[in-house]
Symmetry: C2
Subunit: 191 residues, 2 copies
């Protein structure tokens, strides 16, 4: 019966597929257990209930997202790197809509580890912005802007918020280029 003994990674993988296929809210312990061929209480041997599962999904999603962004920035710098990161971000959300949703937990379930996982993306952006030689706070404001744009774009697209027949990839590139040209303008003005 407990033949191959399920492990947490397998459970997580099934949850991710379920989330991406059916939407995060469709990932119940029942549906997950059914997909794994076990009864839902058995899941408690591996994960800390629904809340624990959501947390694992968030951590895993943040990790994968940051990995994608990092990979996209390898060998690139400045605007090229930032555009590449932006494209990778949106591509990740398109590939993992449910998992991405899980990376945005309610504030009350935030803990140190989640904050740290989230901050890794912030650090990546700070590293790329490094060459612009901005003051620390100026760089942080820029990062907030970039994160807002990417999260907002990806979320709206995910929810079908862009109804019109207008190329979304084009919208993404323009948004990033517009923001970055505004940024360059500031940087040059300061010098």
């Amino acid at each position: 019966m407990s033949r191959k003994s399920l492990d947490k990674a397998t459970i997580l993988q099934a949850a991710i597929e379920l989330a991406d296929d059916m939407g995060l809210e469709q990932v119940t312990l029942s549906s997950l257990a059914q997909r794994l061929g076990i009864k839902s209480p058995s899941l408690y041997n591996h994960i800390d209930g629904m809340r624990g599962l959501r947390r694992e999904l968030a951590l895993h999603g943040l990790q994968l997202l940051c990995d994608s962004m990092t990979k996209a920035a390898v060998g690139k710098a400045g605007e090229k790197a930032l555009l590449s990161i932006g494209i990778a971000y949106v591509a990740f959300v398109r590939e993992h809509p449910g998992l991405y949703e899980a990376t945005q937990p309610a504030p009350d379930q935030m803990d140190e580890e989640l904050v740290a996982a989230s901050y890794r993306s912030v650090q990546l952006l700070l590293d790329v912005l490094d060459e612009y030689q901005l003051e620390r706070d100026d760089a942080l404001h820029m990062v907030r802007g970039l994160r807002s744009m990417l999260h907002g774009f990806a979320s709206l697209e995910l929810r079908g918020g862009f109804g019109l027949k207008l190329d979304t990839d084009e919208s993404l590139m323009r948004m990033l280029r517009t923001y970055l040209s505004g940024m360059e303008l500031q940087v040059r003005t300061i010098d």
Copy 2:
């Protein structure tokens, strides 16, 4: 017993307060009925179940948000108007976190009326952008950028995504100014 006979507006108001105070996911038909002093099945006399309630919240939220944005743009033009709209957007989300969350329903519950309500904000932004004399598609890409920024910023702030001790209002203003300066640059370059 059915003394003053509840109406839909009263129910909606209670649901909004519940959502803003406790979070949207805490708005159950049980909790809502309890707050109204009735039993949950009685709600079905006024609303079409949980799904219907969510839809009403979305519609109402989109309406209120668009009203706020519109009011903010009265008597203003260009960058001033856009900054004012952005501030109003974020202020609305801060005031109505739960209701705002309800304005982003899953794609499968989208219908014509919701799309129309959502499009009113798009039209407002298009109207403000009118003076820049952009091509239709250029303007639409700009609007997507603005919406993405505002939604992303508001969502991240709502979820406690901005952990650092750095003024968020300042971040918002800088984000908008950076984007708008990039936009002005493009417009001027085209001329």
